[in-house]
Symmetry: C2
């Protein structure tokens, strides 16, 4: 079941137990993975961050980038543990200063992501984090934003991966960690 993507060392049993399936959200036919029961459980989140910290220490980033908005919940603890800063990637119009933008398609629609133009310095190693790897649209857009500013994406961390949407293909060749994969 774990395919080669998840090793016992990184798999999170508590996450698997606590994630709640919500049918027809945000649109009919989508089975949404609700992580709020995981966030509400201190022990589960301690386990989750333990896995993120281990991977993060290996990747040696200079900065952690979190994708709006569940990536915000996960990114700041990781950046503090690793002793680096945190940079938000946001939906259009949310960041107040001058931004760059990348469009993407996602599981249910299209959208864009923005990053402040001074958020990353050239040559910085960047670890990107979000709750979910689905089609890989947001993840690849975040990679493009980082690389346009001269940063190097040294890894990507996710709590959940929807394997059947093949998001890995859009971030092929990169170091990717996911704690639970639904094949």
């Amino acid at each position: 079941m774990m395919s080669e993507r998840i090793t016992p060392l990184t798999r999170s049993l508590l996450v698997e137990q606590l994630v709640r399936d919500v049918p027809d959200f945000p649109t009919p036919g989508i089975l949404f993975k609700d992580i709020t029961p995981v966030l509400a459980n201190f022990e589960a989140m301690r386990e989750v961050f333990g896995h993120f910290y281990t991977f993060g220490r290996e990747m040696k980033p200079d900065v952690v980038v979190g994708i709006e908005s569940r990536g915000f919940v996960l990114g700041m603890p990781l950046s503090q543990e690793l002793g680096v800063g945190f940079v938000p990637v946001r939906k259009p119009g949310k960041l107040p200063y001058t931004t760059i933008r990348e469009e993407y398609t996602l599981e249910y629609g299209t959208n864009a992501l923005e990053m402040h133009i001074d958020a990353i310095e050239a040559g910085m190693r960047v670890l990107i984090i979000d709750d979910l790897l689905a089609t890989g649209g947001t993840a690849s857009a975040a990679c493009r934003l980082v690389e346009r500013l001269g940063g190097e994406v040294c890894g990507l961390s996710f709590m959940i991966e929807l394997g059947f949407l093949h998001g890995r293909k859009r971030i092929e060749g990169r170091a990717v960690q996911s704690l639970v994969t639904y094949p």
Copy 2:
């Protein structure tokens, strides 16, 4: 005391130095306090969380509630430090499961906040966190959501307070921490 609002012990000098003023965002005439330079600075965030942890330990919450979306960045590290869970309060339509809703007015418009109906258990002590106390509209709406579910708001933490908007009046009588106040 800050009169009594800010003591030297809780005031964050690094935050004051790093916050960036962005004029006319999100609408003309608003001087937006951009905290992304603070988030990007590891030392500043370590200082910020030090203050949040001290107040949080005094308040002894059973759960931390973070308000979308900059409250997400601040809330999870606090909840992990205090050994409790994290609950998101979100804009309408974002939470997938059954929600309750409270309307509010804010500095530049009107909106509503939602919380999952099972997010708080009756009798829980709840610490609410957000980046900014402005008019107090979001903060008081978050308090009402918590109290509708039977929770007790034991305190509220903010990185920045815009004193001239008098948000304190809408959360009068509650324990409130803010690290920087613009009078």
